[in-house]
């Protein structure tokens, strides 16, 4: 689900751009560490494969068909960091070349599908590496459920007022989509393994199992929480009121409500947004600069 521009409030898209930019810089560095430079074309071509794979229709239900999303498949083949990077390249290409998803909302889409989606796919692959079928199904299921749940939550926070019934319906449709992605991922990986087992190596053994277990619990809580929240938005508001979230701001932001504190009234909001974009770009550049320096030293 690619969110176009103007659907998210300034608060949401700017925050997620700010989160995604340094995170992608970090992922790029991690992916670079274990990567032979000569393998870069392979990653790019696999990205093109995921694009093209979306033309292969899988029959589900009566007269309807679904296609692969690909985050979990890439994670199973490449491992988490390269998969997240390839997904980022795919999402950026979709936004710029096909106007599928917004450019300002790129951070949100990358966060939902490339970062959170790939993490949600990696965790079961790592945790249940002994049970191949379960882990592959869960990887596909959780990656789509995570991305869709996050997108739904971001739209709701941005003030898109969906009637509760419609929200519950779309949450249900996303849940079905997640099950289908799990089935497709499982079937596709097994079919690829039959052709050549070397293409899909053994489950990733790096990283500690304890961390993976904690991450799995976190992913489950987030996914279940997102769906519960989107099914009952009034309940979440209620909890917010109980917790008295808005009573005492911990830190008075210099640009509260995303408008500059001074200057002509008409300039405050666009100037704040542009300044924010500049800060996001600057922080990403600074992050990659320092990371690169650390790598070369």
């Amino acid at each position: 689900m690619h969110i176009p521009d103007n659907f998210l409030s300034t608060r949401v898209w700017l925050t997620l751009d700010g989160v995604a930019a340094p995170a992608v810089a970090w992922v790029a560095r991690r992916a670079h560490k274990g990567l032979d430079e000569a393998r870069i074309p392979l990653l790019g071509v696999l990205g093109a494969f995921v694009f093209a794979a979306q033309m292969v229709n899988f029959p589900v239900g009566v007269g309807t068909s679904a296609h692969l999303v690909g985050g979990a498949l890439l994670t199973a083949i490449l491992g988490p960091a390269p998969a997240a990077l390839v997904m980022t390249a795919i999402i950026a290409t979709q936004a710029f070349v096909f106007q599928d998803g917004g450019v300002l909302a790129l951070g949100a889409n990358v966060f939902n599908m490339a970062l959170a989606g790939v993490l949600a796919a990696w965790v079961p692959l790592r945790l249940f590496s002994g049970r191949r079928r379960v882990s592959l199904f869960l990887a596909g299921f959780l990656s789509v459920a995570m991305s869709a749940g996050l997108a739904l939550a971001e739209l709701t926070i941005s003030g898109i007022r969906m009637p509760p019934r419609l929200l519950a319906l779309s949450a249900g449709l996303f849940a079905i989509g997640a099950i289908v992605e799990g089935m497709i991922t499982l079937a596709a990986v097994r079919a690829i393994e039959r052709l050549n087992p070397r293409w899909i190596g053994p489950a990733p053994a790096n990283g500690s199992r304890a961390w993976a277990a904690i991450a799995f619990a976190a992913v489950l809580v987030v996914v279940v929480g997102l769906f519960a929240a989107s099914g009952a938005p009034d309940g979440v508001m209620q909890i917010g009121q109980w917790a008295d979230l808005h009573a005492r701001p911990v830190w008075a932001a210099p640009m509260a409500d995303y408008s500059l504190p001074a200057g002509p009234l008409w300039l405050r909001r666009p100037a704040a947004a542009m300044l924010g974009l500049g800060l996001v770009g600057g922080s990403a550049v600074a992050a990659s600069y320092f990371l690169l320096r650390r790598r070369s030293s």
Binding site: P4, G47, F51, A53, F58, L68, I90, A92
Partner: protein, 240 residues
Amino acid sequence: MHHVVVEQWSRRRSFLHVRDARAKLLVALALLAALATAPASPISAVPFAFLVLTGIAAARLPMASMLRKAAVVLPFSLLFALVEWAAGQPMAGMALLAKSYVSALTVLLLVASTPQPLLLSGMESLGAPRLLVLMAQTLYRYLFVISEQAQHMRLAASCRQGSGARRSRARAFQAAAGALAILFARSYSRAEGIQRAMAARGFTGDFHSLQRRSFNSRDTVFACAGAALAVLAHLVARRP
């Protein structure tokens, strides 16, 4: 293929085409941000639409085709516009529709006036990770090759089985998974071939561009004027 047309447009020559990719990218971002922060009313999009249409005319791109191509965003927006309308906010729904369409048109103008390699290297010099940019370059290069292969495979499959063939759903699902695996195998072997060919030509992890463009004073003027116009359009949009 859909995008081959835009690729051809991006290689034309005009006032907008010769500007540095970074300048165009910055102006596009300024326009998008100014539009996103404009009031939620369909009239907000009008001054921005005027600017983008002027840009399309200045770049001598075919107006009707551009307007048609940007409409890909409409089905999604229409759905949410209906949702807003059902929630008793028809104006907010209309604003969503108008603003997302003009945003899509802005991005389309950017890619239709900038060749993809220049756009990507512009992004790299603005701070995008190098590995990501290299990956996006190869992805874009082989996107159409592999998509075409997928289309050929689909055509061949429907020739073999016929469109009226009735199979059990489980078998059809397995067949689709098999097709996906074959497509993967072909992509993989193509990638290995590319990798060997590039290594033989001395690829060490960097793409070299034959065109080296510098950010000249005209680009500076263009970037500043573009950002100023974006703010001006925002100002006009705020007027009741």
